[in-house]
Amino acid sequence: MPVLPLPHVPFEPIAPLTPPSPTSPLLSIRDLHVHAGATPIVEAVCLDIHAGEMVGLVGESGSGKSVTALSIVRLIPEPPMRIPQGRIDFDGRDLSALDEPALRAIRGEDIAMIFQEPMTSLNPVFTIGDQIREMLLLHRDLSVKAANARAAELLARVGIPSPETALMRYPHQLSGGQRQRVMIAIALACEPRLLIADEPTTALDVTVQAQILELIDDLRRESGMAVLLITHDLGVVSQYCDRVAVMYGGRIVEQADAGTLFAHPRHRYTEALLKTIPSANTPGARLPAIGGTVPAPGRRPPGCAFHPRCEAAIDVCRSTLPVLTDDDHQHACWNPVP
């Protein structure tokens, strides 16, 4: 085999924050497929999350990352969407086989979610207090008075100034950053073991984004809550996540601990993505752009979905789907970065 020159890698490798846990994962997704009608949206996704771990699920629009996240708690619209194949094991139970009442008991209680736009996730006609209390009264056997006290405590924890007053406010009276803090308070109300955060800071300003990510990071460190962070922002993932899964065309194409993945990407898509971002380049220089566009579901090409845009594509990429390697640094690429 010819010796290939090492690629230019602009990032220093960093040791992972927490060593891989030897215990069984809290959430284990196996061979998950999600279809909308006959169109495959998510294909053959496998993903493990351990207690206390923050895992990043990265991808561009149309990659299937949000649908994957929503499928975990079955918040995808069924129909038209359905899960024809796969298991979602959470603490020993397969969520893909549960009925709605059983799922409702898990949502909010064991698995909580926060979304990109806190304004549309909060009910505009109820106070912040009403909305936090709702969670507590639904899942916990508390008196209204005790629920009130707990709600104020939660608001204080997420950094809302004068929590007692804030309980009486309506969502529109808060800033975007504060609304996201409230969403986090609601999510934390029942001390979930898994928090799914779908682009939680995309709508926020960069200084506020840093505060919210710090808060989520602090909370998982003190409570051992696991976090699945869905984002398109590679910088955010690099800074906060222990492990990263990269999605493209409905599949996970690469997965590794964050330090390894950013220092030494193996999949050509990940490599191209890391090279194209402005901060990895000399200011003003031509960016090594990735040609073409992300294929829409239903229009994914045969073989590797990235091959029409890939500069390292070889014949086999066009015809045959690459399989994820079965090691610590999983990648599904016929011609990986050496």
């Binding site: 402005p278 566009t293 845009r309």
Partner: protein, 318 residues
Amino acid sequence: MTLLEVRQLTKTYPGPGGAVVQAVSEVSLSVGADEVLGVVGESGCGKSTLGRSLLRLVEPDAGQIVFEGTDLMTVGRRRFQHYRRDLQIIFQDPFGSLNPRHTVGHVIAEPLIVHRVGNAASRRARVAELLDLVGLPADSARRYPHEFSGGQRQRIAIARALALEPKLLIADESVSALDVSIQSQILNLIADLREKLSLSIVFISHDLSVIRHVSDRIAVMYLGRIVEIGTAAQIMDAPRHPYTQALIAAVPRLGVRRSQARTPIVGEPPDPANPPPGCAFHNRCPHVMDVCRKVRPQLEPGRDPLPGNQTACHLYTQ
């Protein structure tokens, strides 16, 4: 050579309960020929209002917009239309800014029709030329906006903005809605066009890494005012204003663990309807002094000035 010079531009909106919201306050800046000026700031800092004010898409309350020696604030509506050919804008949302009922050819030709340039045949030729310039196939002219992806739509918006051969382009969050891989295609296109057409650009964005990439100089806005302006390299590598420093520190960077990064600044920007006295940043500033709470700092070169830099901060006042 200065193409555009803005002096003391102010735009206010009526706020809740009779309050006055200062969207843009006494902003002065200049854009040279062939220069890209980046305007960066968080939501509500007034950067978009500033961009629209330059074209009088929102009517400023006060100030001067001197374009090639003429104050656009003093010219009548009809004469202003003449200058409008030289000043064009592209927006963030390539879905909202293209009329879905018109073909792409019509969308791109519209500025030519409005300004009565050429006849039907020459406009068709110009549309073909523009499509080629922005890297879209010639048959795009017959198709409708919904048939195109986000990145392609932004190319259509750029083609339309270039139809009248403007001298100054205002790009308001023009790559913010695009995926990373598409964003670089559009940034490369903007760089090519800038070179080919010797365009001046006011590039407005909240994204510091994009701003750094495209800009020659950068203006940082906070609560309606420019708090620092300087060369792109100086702003990014040696920021002077504590807000600029905080903004740069808050950008998540690849390969930097949270534990290695600086602690983010606390708080959020104040309500523009009720700005604090003194420096608007004082309630979040780690270096706050007594004077910051009382006296508003002026944008000036200050003590130990850096070439081309002006900063509105008492740390640097004489």
